[in-house]
Symmetry: C2
């Protein structure tokens, strides 16, 4: 006798995580009757109900909750055996990844990421796809893009995502801007006009919402630009204020451009940059290696997320 079918562990993990036969079925792409039968087999094998009726819903039994960690680790470890084999051959592979990210990310991460990847896989290639105005999920779904790096996009529900780093906006002005002469307050913020960076022409953002809701103030957007490049070259001749994320500020030579920066005296929500991918790549060990390498590199370059 060989004991129970170990493949039931895959079902067990998802059943406990979802606490629902229907959701578990959907997640593993089988019918509800099929999932129900798997649950029945698990109940026999473990002599435990696993999921118990809790009013209209189901909830996991104490025993099931107690072993979830071990089940998750088991399934993960079992799948990583496959990766052991696949990754053993990285040095002989020549994978090409298409990654879509905005210019800020490319500027700061592209080179260190490529260096880290090539360390283990010398013939690895990256293609940085240009930003588009369509929803970011579609190319992931169709497989035209392997990985997407964004911060504000709303992704389709099935798209997987992982936070890479946390950022916040800083104000950029010319070096001797009058706003710097005294401690900056919300009131002094709105004395000057602003530049807004938005590919879709969106002028309003978190700064506006906080000013209005917490101080009853309104800032003026003098113009909206699709990217910051030409602004940082010429804004030193004006009193305009340009909000930029830290990732950019760290990247440009502020002093050389005749500029200075300041922290907004506001409680702004942070910006969580993430990487996103389609679930079909979940079990692709080479794709996982890419994600893990990008995650590690982004933390090295940009510092850990404080969350």
């Amino acid at each position: 006798m060989r004991g129970y079918d170990l493949d039931l562990l895959r079902f067990l993990q998802v059943l406990i995580e979802e606490e629902s036969v229907s959701l578990a079925a959907r997640r593993l792409k089988v019918s509800e009757p099929a999932m129900s039968r798997h649950l029945a087999k698990l109940r026999v094998a473990f002599a435990d109900p696993i999921l118990v009726q809790s009013g209209r819903r189901m909830s996991a039994s104490a025993f099931a909750v107690g072993i979830l960690d071990r089940v998750q680790e088991l399934v993960r470890a079992a799948d990583s055996l496959i990766e052991t084999r696949a990754l053993a051959n990285l040095a002989n592979m020549a994978p090409t990844f298409t990654i879509r990210a905005n210019d800020l990310v490319v500027a700061s991460l592209a080179l260190p990421l490529l260096q880290a990847l090539k360390k283990e896989c010398p013939r690895c290639e990256l293609i940085w796809a240009p930003e588009i105005d369509d929803p970011a999920s579609d190319p992931l779904r169709h497989g035209r893009v392997d990985l997407y790096i964004g911060a504000t996009d709303v992704m389709k529900p099935e798209i997987r995502r992982q936070t890479l780093f946390r950022d916040h906006m800083q104000g950029v002005v010319r070096k001797d801007h009058p706003i710097l002469a005294t401690p900056i307050t919300p009131q002094s913020m709105v004395l000057y006009d602003y530049i807004s960076v938005s590919r879709r022409g969106r002028a309003q953002g978190p700064i506006d919402w906080v000013l209005r809701n917490q101080y009853g103030l309104t800032r003026r957007i003098a113009m909206v630009v699709p990217n910051y490049h030409c602004m940082v070259e010429s804004m030193k001749n004006s009193d305009l204020i340009l909000p930029l994320p830290g990732i950019v500020v760290d990247h440009i030579s502020v002093a050389a451009l005749g500029l200075a920066t300041f922290e907004f005296p506001l409680s702004l929500p942070s910006i969580d940059a993430f990487q996103a991918w389609h679930p079909r790549r979940d079990t692709d060990p080479v794709h996982r290696w890419l994600r893990e390498t990008l995650f590690r590199v982004s933390r090295q370059i940009l510092g850990p997320c404080t969350q």
Copy 2:
């Protein structure tokens, strides 16, 4: 896509351990074609041959050898999930185990073992079956005995066994025996007659073989007895030498019986006491709990094996 069938891990483990499709098939009680197909699926899943032809035989690939530890641990951990559930209910169980062991073992281990078992399972019961002269394997095969503890028995090949403790023989004589007047040598050993303890009337043993082969000496067996009990009561009135294992010597009150002990000046093979059970109990979590408890108790009482 759910990834490969995790149940293949059971086959993977046995295939790597046996390095033979036939032996693996036999061990898991499937046909050779069935095992061959499982191997084929493993080869696809891992993109590795797993077993490669090495002349007439097969041997495990480097990759397979490299992951065997992890595979064994995975299968063990997966099966132990079942035990987690089963053992969670020990306090409410009332299992009865039939254990066959010789009197020496019963005398020294029965009470501590029962105490240790009852600590976790208050209604647990032990039945110590009397020694018999038939092969010890048969009752295990037929299920009449759950566990057998022995030392010298040859068991059937499918019987599982685990060493419990290591022992050695000591000489027992009356308190003022002349052999104790000077350092004991092989030559002085054979000046006196011996008692041999053997249920099957076997007079010769390792002592005889070592004396003959290393010193060209022969000891005289004055009599053979089926157990040592009556001898230790009456032998103080004679110059007979009674060899007994340490487990007995530690158990009886040597001084109160007017006796003394000595170490044989010979390089004798040690006695490995073991527990034995039928493989059908391998996956029985309650039976495994019994074995593990017996193992732990025997080490506590008799000291660890130096091996």
